[in-house]
């Protein structure tokens, strides 16, 4: 019989986190793993609310209370099965989702101060442990339909789509320009948050399930879109957003100013041994501009590269920043200094970066998304010295030019039009082409991209009358 007072009697306890001294020496994940007892004890803290706020807040609407109960009951494989019924990459989401803003933030136990259930870590535990114990998705009952779908992009959206397709007897063939699957999961997210072995294992599993990957293959360059349209019954595009947002202030082009993504990708490629070229912060005074998770990734990667100092500046206050609080905390622990309410107005320097000029802000009325607008306070300009500046203002869609050739419409903000509530979910203006993830929504969370990929797969299945 479950203990109804577990939430009161047992505190929220995440797995052990490596000490700062140890963790900044390398790129390994900083969190440990639950053991079965620890996972059970933490899962049992769930109240099984009448309104499952966690599930409601979760973009893929994971059946969180249900799998928490299964873990509490020791039924790991059923938990893994249930977890996979709504999510293609639960072990990834367990690691990289900003749970404190989503499920755990919504958890009933969070607000009164009991500490939310450790949903993210249990999610990670379920899949990691079940896979380690030999559990695999059961596709034995799947009947092949003979249909084939090309999936462009092996990121979260593409994988989500391929997963659902293959489980329904449709053969997905996934194309990606990089040598590894995962897209930004592999290249954009530093390995101290998501170790690269995780995606490796996942690739093996996907291949066992029957997903075919064509890596190092860029559509439009190595293979023609028309060829895909000819050879496959449908095409799904999940190509992400790769244009960097700019600050629009002077000095952004100075040497020593880098966009976040190339910096992160180059570092990953070095860690993976794919390339030795890397933007390196060793010994440098680094200023990171931005307050999202990408900014935190830059901060912490810089620390690990041995930066002399890392300062992160954001134009609102801590309460109004978009990134995960957990990541801010980790960054701070690792030695990152934060400057809140600072809006960069210029990157100063001759021929190369010497510093960043900020103006202090005050917060005004909330905008349409509920976040308070920063308003510059006159006469507060200051210059923070820097050797390198990393800009992490986010991403914009960068639709490939060939879309127009195939009658795929995009909107005024360069997003592919593929509505979730169309006749077939996520169908584009070309009936045979579907799309999802960041290239449709604009830059967003990993988990939303997974969700859209899965939803698009449903649309494709309906379209193919499977």
């Amino acid at each position: 019989m479950a203990n109804n007072f577990q939430f009161l009697e047992v505190e929220r306890r995440d797995p052990e986190k490596k000490s700062v001294e140890v963790r900044i020496q390398g790129y390994g994940e900083i969190y440990g793993e639950f053991d079965a007892e620890h996972a059970r004890e933490q899962s049992e803290r769930c109240l099984a609310c009448g309104n499952p706020y966690c599930e409601w807040k979760c973009p893929v609407h994971n059946y969180i209370p249900n799998w928490l109960k299964l873990v509490a009951e020791g039924n790991l494989f059923e938990a893994a099965k249930l977890s996979h019924s709504t999510n293609t990459l639960p072990e990834v989401c367990g690691r990289v989702c900003p749970q404190d803003r989503l499920c755990e933030g919504a958890c009933t136990l969070n607000e009164p101060g009991f500490g939310a259930v450790t949903i993210g870590n249990v999610e990670k535990y379920i899949t990691d442990t079940a896979l380690a114990q030999g559990w695999r998705p059961d596709l034995s009952a799947v009947k092949a339909t003979g249909k084939r779908v090309a999936v462009i992009g092996a990121g979260p959206a593409g994988l989500g789509c391929a997963d659902v397709l293959v489980r329904n007897g449709v053969q997905p063939v996934v194309f990606d320009r990089y040598p590894e699957i995962g897209g930004l999961l592999t290249y954009g997210i530093p390995s101290f948050k998501l170790e690269k072995d995780v995606m490796k294992l996942r690739q093996t599993i996907f291949e066992e399930m029957g997903i075919e990957f064509r890596l190092n293959t860029e559509v439009g360059k190595d293979i023609d879109m028309q060829q895909l349209l000819d050879e496959y019954d449908a095409v799904f595009m999940g190509m992400g957003t790769y244009s960097y947002m700019k600050g629009g202030f002077p000095g952004e082009d100075l040497p020593g100013v880098y966009d976040a993504l190339p910096f992160l990708i180059s570092n990953t490629q070095r860690v993976l041994g794919e390339s030795e070229d890397c933007i390196d912060m060793q010994g440098k005074r680094v200023v990171v501009l931005g307050g999202g998770d990408t900014a935190m990734d830059c901060n912490r990667t810089s620390i690990r590269q041995g930066a002399a100092s890392v300062i992160c500046a954001y134009r609102r206050d801590e309460a109004n920043m978009p990134g995960s609080r957990r990541e801010v905390a980790n960054a701070r622990e690792e030695g990152v200094q934060f400057l809140w309410n600072r809006q960069p107005i210029e990157i100063v320097g001759n021929d190369k970066v010497e510093g960043v000029k900020f103006v202090t802000t005050a917060l005004g009325e909330p905008d349409e998304r509920g976040r308070r607008r920063p308003e510059p306070v006159a006469g507060t300009e200051e210059i923070v010295p820097a050797d390198h500046v990393l800009i992490a203002f986010g991403f914009r869609p960068n639709p490939p030019a060939w879309l127009a050739d195939h009658h795929v419409n995009i909107d005024e903000r360069d997003r592919v039009t593929a509505p979730a509530d169309g006749e077939f979910k996520h169908q584009t203006s070309n009936p045979k082409v579907f799309a999802g993830g960041d290239m449709v929504r604009g830059s967003d969370l990993v988990v939303t991209a997974i969700f859209e990929g899965r939803e698009a797969a449903e649309g494709i299945l309906d379209y193919l009358e499977v």
């Binding site: 109804n4 007072f5 939430f7 009161l8 109240l47 099984a48 609310c49 009448g50 309104n51 499952p52 706020y53 599930e55 409601w56 807040k57 609407h61 059946y63 249900n66 109960k69 299964l70 009951e73 039924n75 494989f77 059923e78 249930l82 019924s85 919504a106 009933t108 136990l109 009164p112 101060g113 009991f114 009952a141 799947v142 009947k143 489980r167 329904n168 007897g169 299945l461 499977v466």
Partner: protein, 1505 residues
């Protein structure tokens, strides 16, 4: 009493405009009508006629006036009447005057003729013709002299022409034959006339009895019928009756007694009984009667009592004797009574095989001219007390003391116990006591031998589970999708049943839409709302009174009941209608070998291309053909699904087959076994049984259990155990569902159709659920067909998974929930911040949601002229109409309870204490609850508590679980809770399903009177739950003098209850409120009561709509809880509420509760502000202006096909009531007819002594019409000095005579009453102090310990004081006592039930089921013949007091008896004291299992301190 509008099935309206015609556009249905009453009989044992007897009967009726309903003119009642032994001399003389020549054997018929003379002539001719056709000699007609001035206005509008017909028997005819010919002639006449003449009715046509009845008050009966005033009219027996109908529109023909009987109570199963009478009509064969001429045997409309009378008459006409016939109709409980005489048991078992009981509360008095008899139902829910005097008269009535007799003339007095029958034989002068009748019955035939030789049981041997679990993963997936098993249902319903053998518990009600409103595919079972008993009949506690419950089911063909042969016993019995795999296989096996059980399996899967309706009809036809071909067991199976077929839902098939077979006269030759995937919870099973299924084989539920074991969802190695648990849980659920309607046996429940259908098209109802209430139309066959096709598509598509669920909890993509996370979060943000703009976010979410309640399809009209908001009444006026719904301290934490109270008080609104008392420190402060609840547990209900109230609310039912009791688990009962509830910490506290003092409407009237006596300034409110017929109940409640009535919806409700109760019981308030408003207006009662609604009210728009539908006051439960921080977790029953709102856990309360008075106030202010804006929009200056203004609403079309199929026009109807009839309450109080003059006299006499606390002694004579004696004084005492403040200087009343009901109710410390005489029901109810002493009159001849001196349900909810009664007490003595010390000389059944404290000493016999659910206090029982051990319930332990270590108890007992003897002079007590050393060995000490033996005495002392 469902059904009253017409005695006859007339379709053509005569001149008389029936009530049903008046209100037919509204939402009321005539079959909702209910009635209760007072009744009795008087007979001369030796058959000596007298006019005195007639006068005494009429006088007795008048002394039961408080049990009937009275109109303001004092003349119009709901009807009364007399059934007399034929007054031969008087009739002879009357005939002589008219020149009739009567033979020795003659009959007189009392006939109501139409006021249209042509119709009357036709009726006379027809009757004469038919009588002559039977060989009888019609002498002529006599106009019965009447005086219309005795009638009230309503009575006159329907007054028939009243005549008598005189008929001679044929020469060679004996009495039996004569009666039979009269019956045949009457039936033929009725059948000929009924279609055209609505007024024609024959109250009696007999050579033995004659009926005088009508719509007048008892004292006017001899004025109206001049015959009755004529001294020459002498009779030897009279059965009398006074009616309390829930409606005021009267019917002459429905006045009682009927032709044989008068009935006090309600036949809950009447619809089923009627259907079965049609089905079984073809089984009744006798050479004596041409059966086709008399069928149908039973009227399908009219009152239940009328139908039962018809049935009794048919049985007697067929040659059955009156005792067997009556015991067949209303048998006692026998299935679980372990110590019943085996021969008697065999009699009942044998007879039960061919007829189901007419189940429900019943006291029946009857006569066939020779016997005057009375019988009461198995639960003893109606009182019957009798007195026999020296002059050989026996009188029996609902109350003792209904006529004056000298104490020394009384030979014996007594009462009928549950299930007993007694009779006076006026031919032999013999009094037949219950044992005598039992002996007669069991000795008729060798029943035991017949049963042993011929009956068989379907029994489980060593069950193996391999019979199920045959499905592969893939198959079970298909079945689950086809029949909508979700992950949620597997986990929350099926698994819980399988693992624990009981239903899962849930909290916070149901906030999902009805299927007709839903955008999801929903099960047809969800359209059915369980009916439940409220007010006019009580629910039963199926756990603590298990002894009356039975699920036994009988298979095989029925036989002709007019014969008794050994072969009648040859039937197959099974313990429960839910079959295990083994039993199902056994049954099929039997069918292969024995023709008596020859089986036909009919597939419910039909070929694609056929339409659903045709498929259902086809199945019904196949069933009929199979039976005609000799099949007996029909298996309706949905098992053979295929991709080429669609399944007919088992419920449609079952109902259609059942009704088709009934109509074809084949039903009693067949058993319907439903092998179905659709039945998976108790409700599913109950609906199938309610529409005629004999047994159910729920194979998919078993398969799911297997599957869960396979996948380790359930860790268990024996699936057979899980299947067994599953059945156990379903069985418990069935008990709960039947008991909630007051029904004890599944045999009676089967086919009784006790549901309201919400949202189905009439075509569906007519084909499958004929006769079920269905008021707003809805889902069509085509919609159901489309739904099923969608499910089929899903089922056979391997890529679709089973659905996650969403009916219980909110799940993305699942069913809509009114309190979904967005709604909860946005509301909390708004009320915490006090920001009205944020509130608008919340109201937008709610007001523009997809339709989820019926009101969402009603829209305010837009063509009204707006006024300025400044012209609308202020917020302060509006909030006065708001109450918080009852939530007890116990359910809520003290912090939350007080937050709510303070918020309401600061607003000028009212909070409701809920059940569970209140800290006296809160009385009179800002933290008090102005509404004090009186619920079935009566926890903490004392005179001071009641005096602290502005409103005293009687909770009849609550939305989350109408018809059920409650339980506060022991872990929630801490020091604080225990103190206010007068009980011990850590023990579970049980609120019974019924109020044990409300088994009928006149009982409710009594409780209301009790409350008004103790607190004359307070208002009395009655809380009902919406269901079909709630309006008529409300009308009855208004006539019982309630000041306020609340009609709750199903969707409110914060209490914990089984999930099937949460989901399937209780109706929408929109329906209940409209019905109530319409019916109150139609009956001219709306101006007398305030009407409130509650249930999921969320915004000002909800309030406006409720006002327009008729409410002037509004209750809120969940809303303010959420405003206090509740997150709608639905875990209230676990005590672990993380928000500290619904928990008693100290840490959660002190550290995590964050509710603010201001937030709650914001909630109500915002709603009031919404209301103001909406009022301004429609141009109204106040809420009052729009109450009942249904013209301000219009019905929307709806957004889905199903929604568009609804017809809500009845909600918006004025029900044909004049526009100037009041729309809201126009008077401050609803003043009772009974002014309580004696009580007022007592106040005048004693008030000075009370004010001065000086005490004193006063003397009065009391009669049974003096009710609630003492309560007025206790109220005055408690108001000034608290519950016990005057105990040291008491007022002493010396009384003689028979006290009316509720003697000493709510007695306060400082009032001692000594009564020499006897008393009726409810003595010492709710007493908290003082002393009540009752002893027989001096000079009495009877032995006190063999004579009943006080009635039923004494000391219910008492918290202190002492009661001594030198005589026997009735049933349920000491029920829920928590502090009174009492001594009596014997008690009835169910003694000390739910007792939580106090001391009960019984110096004589106790009835069965002693101490059920007793958790505190203890008892001493004197057990002279060592039979007590058979009487105890398993909840108690018993100990001898003899042993050495019990010395303290021995001494204590002696002192207790000494005090008793000192006060009463009891001979019994003295005898025991005189022989104490040899009598002490006969005593038992009884303690609850929940208490320790060595703590009993300490507890007693501690509580006394």
């Amino acid at each position: 009493m469902p059904g009253v509008i017409k005695c006859l099935t007339a379709k053509l309206a005569g001149r008389y405009v029936s009530y049903s015609d008046k209100v037919k556009s509204g939402i009321y249905r005539p079959e909702f009508e209910k009635e209760n009453c007072g009744f009795g009989l008087i007979a001369h044992m030796d058959g000596k006629p007298s006019h005195w007897l007639l006068d005494t009967a009429i006088g007795a009726l008048a002394r039961l006036t408080h049990r009937g309903a009275v109109a303001a003119d004092g003349k119009s009642g709901d009807g009364c009447g007399l059934l007399l032994g034929k007054p031969d001399a008087f009739l002879q003389a009357a005939a002589g005057e008219l020149g009739f020549k009567l033979k020795a054997s003659y009959a007189v018929g009392m006939v109501f003729l139409n006021t249209d003379s042509a119709l009357a002539d036709a009726a006379r001719t027809t009757l004469e013709t038919e009588l002559r056709a039977e060989g009888l000699d019609v002498q002529g007609w006599r106009t019965v002299p009447t005086d219309n001035s005795a009638c009230g206005k309503e009575a006159l509008t329907s007054l028939p022409v009243i005549e008598q017909i005189f008929v001679n028997a044929a020469d060679d005819m004996d009495t039996v034959a004569f009666e039979r010919h009269l019956y045949i002639a009457r039936r033929r006449t009725e059948k000929a006339l009924e279609p055209d003449d609505e007024m024609f009715y024959i109250p009696s046509l007999s050579s033995k009895v004659i009926s005088y009845k009508g719509l007048v008050m008892p004292e006017y009966l001899p004025v109206f019928y001049k015959d009755l005033g004529n001294q020459a009219l002498a009779t030897n027996l009279a059965v009398f009756h006074q009616r309390f109908s829930t409606n005021t529109w009267p019917q002459w023909c429905l006045a009682q007694p009927f032709r044989y009987l008068a009935h006090n109570g309600e036949i809950n199963t009447v619809q089923g009984n009627r259907n079965w009478s049609v089905a079984r009509g073809h089984k009744f064969e006798t050479d004596a009667i041409p059966m086709d001429d008399v069928r149908p045997l039973v009227s399908m409309s009219g009152s239940d009592s009328n139908s039962m009378d018809n049935m009794l008459e048919a049985l007697l006409a067929g040659g059955m004797d009156i005792f067997r016939a009556m015991r067949l109709l209303i048998p006692p409980a026998w299935q679980n009574v372990e110590n019943m005489d085996p021969d008697l048991r065999a009699f009942y078992e044998y007879n039960s095989m061919h007829m189901e009981p007419w189940d429900g509360p019943a006291g029946v008095v009857l006569t066939d001219g020779r016997y005057a008899a009375c019988t009461v139902d198995r639960n003893g829910l109606r009182p019957a007390r009798w007195v026999m005097t020296k002059d050989r008269h026996i009188t029996l009535a609902s109350e003792i003391g209904v006529y004056e007799y000298a104490p020394e003339d009384v030979i014996a007095k007594g009462r009928l116990k549950p299930g007993q029958m007694f009779a006076a034989d006026t031919e032999t002068g013999q009094l037949l006591l219950p044992e005598d009748i039992d002996y007669l019955l069991k000795a008729r035939q060798p029943y035991k031998k017949w049963m042993a030789e011929h009956s068989r049981h379907l029994e489980s041997k060593l069950e193996q589970s391999h019979l199920t679990g045959s499905m592969s993963n893939e198959q079970i997936g298909i079945y689950q999708k086809m029949f909508q098993v979700t992950y949620e249902e597997r986990e929350e319903i099926i698994r819980v049943l399988g693992e624990s053998g009981q239903e899962a518990i849930g909290s916070m009600g149901d906030d999902t839409p009805f299927p007709v409103l839903s955008r999801q595919v929903r099960s047809p079972y969800d359209n059915f709302r369980q009916q439940f008993a409220q007010v006019t009949n009580p629910p039963i506690d199926p756990i603590r009174e298990q002894i009356v419950m039975s699920l036994e089911t009988c298979l095989g063909r029925e036989r002709n009941m007019f014969e008794e042969t050994p072969e009648h016993a040859a039937r197959l019995l099974v313990d429960s209608p839910i079959l295990s795999p083994v039993k199902f296989q056994q049954l099929l096996e039997l069918g292969r070998h024995e023709s008596d059980y020859d089986t036909a399996t009919i597939s419910l899967n039909y070929a694609r291309g056929t339409d659903l309706q045709a498929a259902i009809s086809d199945i019904a036809n196949k069933a009929a053909v199979a039976i005609q071909n000799g099949k007996v067991v029909l298996v309706l199976s949905d098992r053979d699904i295929s991709e080429d077929t669609y399944p007919v839902h088992a419920l449609f098939a079952t109902g259609a087959v059942h009704h088709h077979l009934v109509r074809e006269g084949l039903r009693c030759d067949a058993n319907i076994i439903v092998e179905t995937a659709t039945a998976r919870d108790p409700h599913h099973c109950a609906v199938l049984l309610g529409y005629g299924a004999t047994c159910i084989y729920p194979y998919l539920a078993y398969e799911c259990l297997h599957d869960m074991v396979r996948s380790n969802m359930i860790e268990h190695d024996n699936v057979t155990d899980l299947e067994g648990n599953f059945r156990k849980g379903i069985n418990k659920g069935l008990y709960k569902i039947t008991s909630k309607m007051g029904i004890s046996t599944i045999a009676s429940y089967r086919g009784s159709q006790l549901f309201e259908i919400i949202g189905m098209h009439q075509d569906v109802v007519d084909l499958c659920f004929t006769g079920t209430t269905n008021r707003v139309s809805g889902i069509r066959f085509s919609d159901f067909e489309a739904d099923q096709k969608q499910l089929c598509k899903l089922a056979w598509n391997p890529r679709k998974k089973i659905a996650q669920g969403g009916l219980l909890k909110y799940i993305h993509g699942g069913e809509d929930h009114a309190y979904n996370p967005d709604v909860v979060n946005s509301m909390q943000e708004a009320v915490k911040s006090g920001d009205y703009n944020k509130w608008k976010v919340y109201t937008d979410l709610v007001n523009t949601r997809q339709p989820l309640n019926l009101r969402d399809l009603l829209k305010l009209r837009e063509d009204t002229t707006a006024i300025g908001i400044e012209d609308v009444e202020p917020m302060e006026e509006i909030v006065k109409r708001f109450d918080s719904a009852a939530m007890s301290l116990g359910a809520l934490s003290p912090e939350a309870h007080q937050t709510l109270a303070e918020a309401m008080n600061r607003l000028g609104a009212r909070s409701n204490s809920g059940e569970g008392g209140e800290d006296p420190e809160r009385y009179g402060t800002i933290r008090r609850s102005k509404i004090k609840q009186v619920a079935s547990g009566r926890f903490g209900v004392t005179p001071a508590y009641l005096r602290s109230a502005e409103v005293m609310q009687i909770k009849i039912a609550q939305g989350a679980k109408p018809g059920e009791g409650g339980q506060l688990p022991g872990h929630k009962v801490n020091e604080l809770i225990a103190k206010h509830r007068y009980c011990n910490t850590g023990v579970s506290l049980i609120s019974p399903p019924p109020h044990h003092d409300i088994y009928s409407i006149e009982d409710l009237a009594q409780l209301i009177f009790d409350l008004k006596q103790v607190n004359p300034d307070g208002l009395v409110s009655v809380k009902l739950v919406s269901e079909a017929g709630v309006g008529t109940i409300a009308a009855g409640v208004a006539k019982a003098y309630a000041d306020l009535i609340t009609v709750s919806g199903y969707d409110g409700g914060t209490g914990a209850s089984p999930l099937t109760s949460v989901k399937y019981a209780g109706g929408a308030w929109e329906l209940g409120l409209s019905e109530t408003h319409q019916i109150l207006r139609a009956n001219n009662l709306r101006g007398k009561v305030r009407l409130q609604t509650d249930g999921g009210l969320k915004t000002g728009l909800d309030v406006i709509k409720a006002a327009i539908l008729g409410a002037e006051s509004f209750g809120f439960g969940t809303g303010p809880m959420i405003a206090m921080g509740c997150k709608y977790l639905r875990i209230c029953h676990l005590n672990n509420c993380a928000t500290g709102v619904a928990t008693q856990n100290n840490i959660l309360r002190s550290k995590y509760y964050s509710g603010e008075v201001e937030a709650v106030m914001n909630y109500f202010r915002f709603i009031a502000e919404d209301v103001r804006q909406l009022l301004a929009g429609i141009g109204a200056r106040s809420l009052t202006e729009i109450i009942g203004r249904t013209d301000l609403l219009e019905a929307l079309d709806g957004y889905t096909g199903k929604q568009q199929s609804l017809d809500l026009s009845a909600l918006l109807s004025d029900a044909g009531v004049a526009a100037d009839a009041p729309q809201f309450c126009m008077q401050p109080f609803n003043e009772p007819f009974d002014k309580g003059e004696l009580a007022e006299q007592m106040v005048r006499d004693t008030l000075a002594s009370i004010e001065n606390q000086s005490g004193g002694e006063f003397s009065y004579v009391v009669r049974n019409i003096n009710r609630s004696i003492g309560a007025r004084l206790s109220g005055e005492i408690a108001a000034r000095h608290g519950n016990l403040g005057m105990a040291d200087n008491p007022i002493t009343l010396k009384l003689t005579g028979t006290a009316g009901q509720s003697f000493g109710v709510w007695n306060a410390g400082g009032l001692n009453m000594y009564l020499e005489g006897d008393a009726n029901d409810y003595v010492g109810k709710g007493m908290t102090g003082g002393q009540l002493v009752i002893r027989p009159p001096r000079g009495s001849l009877f032995k006190s310990h063999e004579t009943t001196i006080i009635g039923n349900t004494c000391l219910y909810g008492a918290t202190g004081g002492k009661l001594y009664a030198a005589g026997l007490a009735g049933e349920r003595f000491g029920v829920r006592n928590s502090g009174c010390h009492t001594v009596v000389e014997g008690i009835g059944d169910h003694g000390c039930e739910y007792m939580t404290g106090g001391l009960v000493t019984v110096l004589g016999k106790t009835g069965i089921n002693f101490g059920a659910a007793m958790t505190g206090g203890f008892a001493y029982i004197y057990d002279e013949d060592n039979s007590f051990i058979d009487s105890i319930n398993q909840d108690v332990d018993i100990y001898r007091i003899m042993p050495e270590h019990m010395e303290a108890y021995r001494n204590h007992l002696r002192k207790v008896i000494e005090d008793f003897v000192k006060e009463t002079g009891s001979e019994r007590g003295q005898f025991i004291l005189d022989n104490f050393s040899d009598r002490i060995g006969k005593f038992w000490l009884v303690k609850p299992k929940a208490a320790e033996l060595n703590s009993l005495m300490d507890d007693l002392k501690r509580r006394a301190a």
